[in-house]
Subunit: 67 residues, 2 copies
Amino acid sequence: MELIAIGEIIRERRKSRKVTQDDLAEIAGISIRTLRDIENGMGNPELETLVKICHALGLEIKVEVIK
Amino acid sequence: MELIAIGEIIRERRKSRKVTQDDLAEIAGISIRTLRDIENGMGNPELETLVKICHALGLEIKVEVIK
DNA sequence: AAAAAATAGGCATTTTATTGCCTATTCACT
DNA sequence: AGTGAATAGGCAATAAAATGCCTATTTTTT
């Protein structure tokens, strides 16, 4: 699970929902600046930040055993 | 996915591997202080920190659609 | 029961994510 | 092509995570 991968997942999901970065950031309760960085694979977000975004998109973060 | 849940998953996995916090922290490349906080559900770790720990334990962080 | 090992958490410091403000660039629509 | 919306990213300030040092408590081992 890399940053860029999460960013892409979030971006695709957001676009499929036809939501702007601005709207998603507001719904998730984070700044658009942070959302932008995450979608572009920059930085190293806090778990809570990711959870907020994912929740706003109907996504969930899970921990699984590597097979 | 809540903090306390991740902490418990990590702790259980670590114990099943018979590894101490000290050892796991060193293997993961983070401080024992941070690992301790995460296992006890305190704080709000960075994604990279979680990834390091999970990797050291053969665990993976995933994003899934909520059913 | 005693000793050693492991875990817990307070606190100050350092490092880094988040944020806001700004302008530039790209995209979508008429 | 032109216009407005959306996205991108630099930079400084702020907020918060990570770390190190310390002692206390709990757990394990002998």
